[in-house]
Symmetry: C2
Amino acid sequence: MSTTGPVPSPAHSSAGASPGTVLVVGAGLVGASIGLGLRPTGTDVVLHDASPTVAAVAADLGAGRLPDRRDDDAGPDLVVVAAPPDVTAGLVVAYLGRYPDAVVTDVASTKAAVVAEVVARAGADAHRYVGGHPMAGRERSGPMAARGDLFVGRPWVLTPAPGTSPAATALVRETAARLGAVVVELDPATHDDSVALVSHLPQVAASLVAARLVGASDSAVALAGQGLRDVTRIAASDPVLWAQILAGNAAPLAHQLRLLRDDLDRTLAALEQLDPDRADGPAAGGTVADGLDGGAGRADGPPVRVAGPVGTLARLVADGNAGRAMVPGKHGSAPTVYAVVPVLVPDRPGSLAALIGTIGEVGVNIEDLRIEHSPGRLAGVAEVSVVPAARDRLVEALTERGWSVPD
Amino acid sequence: MSTTGPVPSPAHSSAGASPGTVLVVGAGLVGASIGLGLRPTGTDVVLHDASPTVAAVAADLGAGRLPDRRDDDAGPDLVVVAAPPDVTAGLVVAYLGRYPDAVVTDVASTKAAVVAEVVARAGADAHRYVGGHPMAGRERSGPMAARGDLFVGRPWVLTPAPGTSPAATALVRETAARLGAVVVELDPATHDDSVALVSHLPQVAASLVAARLVGASDSAVALAGQGLRDVTRIAASDPVLWAQILAGNAAPLAHQLRLLRDDLDRTLAALEQLDPDRADGPAAGGTVADGLDGGAGRADGPPVRVAGPVGTLARLVADGNAGRAMVPGKHGSAPTVYAVVPVLVPDRPGSLAALIGTIGEVGVNIEDLRIEHSPGRLAGVAEVSVVPAARDRLVEALTERGWSVPD
């Protein structure tokens, strides 16, 4: 079950080498997307799944091939374990043993526990294991939801341990890069703290808000708008998968939830002060300004003011503004790899067809297109996504031909 | 400052009448959108704003006209107070006094306090006041973000009091209907309880999650994905406006927040049980199934099982699934008034232009269009939004011409 030392195969003996054959274990959304993305690069992708039907569907979609006689002779250069988190470590250990020349990586969304278990159980084989976590997903799961560009422009975290072979890390890094991902190396604990904040905390918050709707009156939910829809979108996630993910990152997530609960308690105390049935009097109200500029006193200014409850609420929303401003890619849903060119489209029949025709004449490929329809205004705005290299050429050509391209 | 009794003007003396002249007080997002939406119906819209610049910008956008000599002779039939919530009641009372023949409505997002203050201060004039709340908004504010179709397909709550003139309610109802809104009548307290759940609770949750990002490391926020973006989108809202809104609905919102905190405390307790540094032992883990099917015992079944911590987490996400499924219009961002026709577009240059051309030949107007670009698959899907009446005709025509229109 273990080799006697580092025996890198020729295919991954140098940094930047790419795998000839990749075995994807688990042909769901992530596994099938890896196959769809690697196949056009000439990689031989073999698909395995505990469900033969899932593997067959992924193969039919073009994500790879099912195992055949070829695979009896030669093992894969790389095994990607893309299975549920609670079986990941066991599968990694098993495949390290089965293919003594292969590098093994995984895609589990928490890393410290998986890495620790592999190191403890795989012995010397562990030097061929590189922990990984592609930060990409969709609301839908399964191979039917797979996309070859799922990882384009997305972070792909690698968590090599001190004993990990640099050649193994280089092979996984090259594979992730071929899928268009932005490779980031973190130690497992830092990774887990980070995803507790940016992934698991929002999931719990979305589920908590959505759970409050159970039993609500039809007339109440009929008033729901885009805000509630956005906040609760990821509440549609799979309960079994997410219970595993949250449980696998219990301590870092609990830390974040305690901090959020402290802020919640402050918010609740402010609201209870403002409740006419609970408050001591109208003087308890305070003003918005108390919260926005009264948080700290200046040495040469007036004495520190204690924020009133309205100020506390304004401070919460303002802190939310500051946090929201840190979220990358906040101005649109198009992948950041595309440039977005806005074009004014007159509200006349044929305008959109004329625009599309013009872009075709210019020879620029439309990667994505969104139109905001706005009756009552004189023109709509079409947002045309193109590869960044084509952006300037398109803007120039459209402007020459009389289209209005706002800054 | 008050009339001696109900003196409906001719313009609103019967149900279904529409106002000839509407005075919009506050020319921001909502006020200017009302103007943009009403003008094409032949309504004379007069704009007023505490900021003359805001009023002038809204007028330039086509939302209405500034007051002139005409307005010295005749008052408006309807006054819409679209000002910040903390000055709404005072403005309603002032305009009821200034125009003794006019109906006055408002757009403030909480109703019980506004209605109570108007009734207390306006005396007999209060019969001409109809509380209102159009449930529509955007991340951006101000007249530049206004759209004539902002209210199309959206709920517009009216909260008439027992003493409100039926003719006044009918006039406001007709005005909201002309803007494409779905008019709903609720008593003020039910309205406030409902928006606490579907609007204010998600706002607080979004702000709480976003506020946690302040001070986070760059490497952590670099891992953020669409989930965090969606959950925190509305955290970009205006702090001053939202502090007023939340404070104005303190008691119903505090009630919802206490319920959410109870669920949060249960989640936190489960995570702390799973933390290896805190738990009594691995037996504390439990299984996912404990939560999903062990919530209640059956009379003729096995004894009630107590859910383990993993089961508690699965139960939270499953409850979130159930709540999420209640959110209306969850399958897309297009207004529900449009029908969405998905069309497979082959990944070849010119395919999209050919599709748009075909739709033009069929004579159907494209209201909205989205394309999902998916390299690695053989075709993309264009989602074409059209008016519902044109849907069947378009599907038939596209199918006849060889386009693939999946169900």
